[in-house]
C-alpha cells in the first residue's frame, strides 16, 4: 500500500487533554496524553481494526478522524485532503463521505422519532431527497439492512437491540459514505445477534465498496472483520499488521499479553494453555 492510494491517512496524530486545578485561577497541572503520536492508513474497500482496552485512546482517535475534535498535532487526511483543524462548517461537505455507527443503538436513536425519519434525516438535511423519493430511498435502505418497509412508521423502542443496530447502520449508509467508523458496534448485542451484524457489515462492504475503521475491544470479532489490525495501548499504536499476523504471530509484549488473556472457548485447549502457563512460570 503506497501512501497515495489510501482513503484515510493519519500521521503523527497527537491529542493531549489539559488537567486543570484551582477555582478562580485555573492552572494546567498536567496533560493526559490520550493519543500520543499514532499513524495509520486505510486503503479503499479495506477494514482496519483498532483494538485496545479502555483508556487506550481508541475512541479519541476515532473522534479526531471524524473531525469531531481538534488534534494537538499531526495530520488526518481523507482522500488527500487535510481534516485536522477544520471548523464544523468546513467539515460539512465531508460529512457525507464519512459516517459513524455507535455502540449503543438504544442511546443513539432519538426515541421520539419514527424509524423512517431517523434513517431519512441525513438525506433530507443534505438536500438529497424529499417526499415520495425520500420514502422510497429509506424503504430501500431498510430492506438492505434486513428490516421491512413496514418498519418505517415504528419507533425505536419497538425494536430489539439487533434491529436497532440495523437502523443505525441504515442511517449511516443513507448518504452513501466512503468511510464508516464503527465504535464497538456489536459489544452491546446478544451473542447470537453479534454474528448477524458482523455478517451484514461484511456484505455491505462488498456491495458498496465501503472502507471501515472498526473499533472494538473484542479481538476475536476484530480479527474476523479486519484486513489489518492496529493495537493501541496508552495512546500509542504498539503493533500493526495483517489481521492474521497480529493474532497469530504477535511481536509486541503488550499484544502478546492481550491475546493471552482472551478466553479460549474450548475447555481442553483452555486447560492446556493454563497448564503451559503454570509450567512456564
Amino acid at each position: 500500500m503506497s501512501g497515495g492510494d489510501r482513503l484515510l491517512e493519519v500521521t503523527g496524530l497527537v491529542k493531549h487533554f489539559p488537567v486543570k486545578r484551582g477555582i478562580l485561577f485555573e492552572r494546567e497541572v498536567e496533560q493526559v496524553r490520550a493519543v500520543d503520536g499514532i499513524s495509520f492508513g486505510i486503503a479503499p474497500g479495506q477494514t482496519l481494526g483498532l483494538v485496545g482496552e479502555s483508556g487506550s485512546g481508541k475512541s479519541t482517535a476515532c473522534r479526531a478522524v471524524l473531525g469531531l475534535l481538534t488534534p494537538t498535532a499531526g495530520s488526518v487526511r481523507f482522500e488527500g485532503e487535510e481534516i485536522a483543524g477544520r471548523s464544523r462548517r468546513q467539515m460539512r461537505p465531508l460529512r457525507r463521505q464519512m459516517q459513524m455507527i455507535f455502540q449503543d443503538p438504544q442511546a443513539s436513536l432519538n426515541p421520539r422519532k419514527r424509524i423512517g425519519q431517523i434513517v431519512g434525516d441525513p438525506l433530507k438535511r443534505q438536500g438529497i431527497a424529499e417526499g415520495a423519493e425520500l420514502r422510497r430511498r429509506v424503504e430501500e435502505l431498510l430492506d438492505r439492512v434486513g428490516l421491512a418497509a413496514e418498519h418505517y412508521d415504528r419507533f425505536p423502542h419497538e425494536f430489539s437491540g439487533g434491529q436497532r443496530q440495523r437502523v443505525g447502520i441504515a442511517r449511516a449508509l443513507s448518504l452513501k459514505p466512503k468511510l464508516i467508523v464503527a465504535d464497538e458496534p456489536v459489544s452491546a448485542l446478544d451473542v447470537s445477534i453479534q454474528a448477524q451484524i458482523i455478517n451484514l457489515l461484511d456484505d455491505l462492504q462488498d456491495e458498496f465498496g465501503l472502507t471501515y475503521l472498526f473499533v472494538a475491544h473484542d479481538i476475536g470479532v476484530v480479527r474476523h472483520i479486519s484486513d489489518r489490525i492496529a493495537v493501541m495501548h496508552e495512546g500509542k499504536i504498539v503493533e500493526q499488521g495483517s489481521a492474521d499476523q497480529v493474532c497469530e504471530r504477535p511481536v509486541d509484549p503488550y499484544t502478546k499479553r492481550l491475546l493471552a488473556a482472551v478466553p479460549i472457548p474450548d475447555p481442553r485447549e483452555s486447560r492446556a494453555r493454563r497448564q503451559a502457563t503454570l509450567d512456564g512460570a
Binding site: 482496552e53 479502555s54 446478544d190 451473542v191 447470537s192 475491544h217 478466553p263 472457548p265
Partner: protein
C-alpha cells in the same frame, strides 16, 4: 466436581412478573443443585432468565408484582417463603452476590473500607470497628489489592474497574460465605483484568471450597472455569451437563448455534461467521412448544409440544436437554463445515 451433599438445591423454580403488557414468566421451572467447591455456570442471552434466577435465590426479586413458586433450599432450609429477616441474615453471611458493574455497587460518597466494615458489623455486632478494619485490610490484600492498608481509605472512584470488582468480591467474602453468586462479574472489565478476576474467583472456589454460580453470556469465560453448565433460553433450561459434555457433545440446537458463532483466535477464520437467525423471543409472546423452534433449522412437527428436560443418552445421566431430535441424528445435524454449529436456515 461434586464433592458432597448439596448446599443449595433449587426445585422447579418459577418467577413471574405482572407487567403493563401482561404477565411475563421470566423463569419457568429451573432446578439445580450446588455442592461445596463446585462451579456452576448459567449461560444465556438477555431475557433468558439467568439473572432473575440468581437474584431470586437470595430473595432480590420479591415484590408485589412478582410471583415466586417452587423451592429454594439452603442447607435444607426453605427460602422461597422465608421471612425477609431470615433472608437478610443469609445474604452476605452465607450467600454472597457480586454484580456486573462494580461502579454502581459501591456508594460513591463513602470510603471503600468503611463500606466493607459496615457490611461486617451489620451481621456481627460483637466485632469492634478496629477489629473489622483489620479484617478488611486482610481481605483486600487477599483479593490482590496492593498496599491495602492505605487503599482502604480510598473512595470508590479512586479505584480502577478491576480494583472495584476485587473490592466487591472482598466485601462478598467478608463474612466467609459458603456460596458466591457472580452475575456477569467480568463483563464490564477489560480482557486482561477479566483474566485476573476469573483466576481470583477460581482460586476462592478451589482453595476455600466456595460453591459458585457464575452467570455469563460468554462461553469463553465458561470454558475457563466452570465444572457444570446450564444453558438457558427464554426462561427455561434447554441443556445442562458437565463442561465437557456441553462443549463436546452438545444436544440442543441453540447450544450448537452459540458454540458455532464463537470467534476463535486459535483457528483460521471462516469466510462468514456462522450465525443464529432471528432474535430471542419476547417473553410476552412466547411461541408454543419449544421456544427456540422459530429460529431452529431442524424444527419438525413434534416441536409444537414442549420437550421435557431429561437425559437422552443412557451413558450420560446428568446430561439433560430439551429437544425432541433423536440423539443419533443430532451427531450428523450439528456438524457444519467440520465443526459444531447450527446450519443456516433454508432460504
Amino acid at each position: 466436581m461434586s464433592v458432597g451433599p448439596a448446599l443449595l438445591s433449587v426445585d422447579d423454580l418459577r418467577v413471574g412478573f405482572a407487567t403493563e403488557g401482561g404477565r411475563v414468566q421470566a423463569v419457568d421451572g429451573v432446578s439445580l443443585e450446588l455442592a461445596a467447591g463446585e462451579m456452576l455456570a448459567i449461560v444465556g442471552e438477555s431475557g433468558s432468565g439467568k439473572s432473575v434466577t440468581a437474584q431470586t435465590l437470595i430473595g432480590l426479586t420479591r415484590s408485589h408484582n412478582a410471583e415466586v413458586k417452587g423451592s429454594i433450599r439452603f442447607r435444607g432450609e426453605e427460602l422461597v417463603d422465608a421471612p425477609e429477616r431470615k433472608l437478610q441474615e443469609i445474604r452476605g453471611s452465607e450467600i454472597a452476590m457480586v454484580f456486573q458493574d462494580p461502579m454502581t455497587s459501591f456508594n460513591p460518597i463513602y470510603r471503600v473500607g468503611a463500606q466493607i466494615v459496615e457490611a461486617i458489623r451489620a451481621h456481627r455486632d460483637d466485632v469492634s470497628r478496629s477489629e473489622a478494619r483489620a479484617q478488611v485490610v486482610e481481605l483486600l490484600d487477599s483479593v490482590g489489592i496492593r498496599d491495602a492498608a492505605r487503599r482502604i481509605d480510598d473512595y470508590p472512584h479512586e479505584f480502577s474497574g478491576g480494583m472495584r470488582q476485587r473490592a466487591m468480591i472482598a466485601m462478598g467474602l467478608a463474612l466467609a460465605p459458603s456460596v458466591l453468586i457472580a452475575d456477569e462479574p467480568t463483563t464490564a472489565l477489560d480482557v486482561t483484568i477479566q483474566a485476573q478476576i476469573l483466576r481470583l474467583i477460581e482460586q476462592l472456589n478451589r482453595e476455600r471450597g466456595l460453591a459458585t454460580i457464575l452467570i455469563t453470556h460468554d462461553l469463553g469465560v465458561v470454558a475457563e472455569v466452570a465444572d457444570r453448565v446450564m444453558v438457558m433460553y427464554a426462561g427455561r433450561v434447554v441443556e445442562e451437563g458437565t463442561l465437557d459434555e456441553v462443549f463436546y457433545d452438545p444436544q440442543h440446537p441453540y447450544t450448537w448455534g452459540l458454540l458455532g458463532s464463537l470467534t476463535r483466535l486459535d483457528r483460521p477464520r471462516p469466510k462468514r461467521l456462522p450465525q443464529i437467525g432471528g432474535a430471542p423471543p419476547s417473553l410476552r409472546s412466547l411461541p408454543g412448544g419449544c421456544s427456540f423452534r422459530p429460529r431452529c433449522p431442524h424444527e419438525f412437527g413434534r416441536c409444537l409440544e414442549l420437550p421435557p428436560l431429561t437425559p437422552r443418552q443412557p451413558e450420560a445421566a446428568g446430561h439433560c436437554d430439551r429437544c425432541w431430535l433423536d440423539p443419533e441424528d443430532k451427531r450428523g445435524k450439528r456438524e457444519v463445515d467440520g465443526r459444531i454449529g447450527l446450519e443456516a436456515p433454508a432460504p
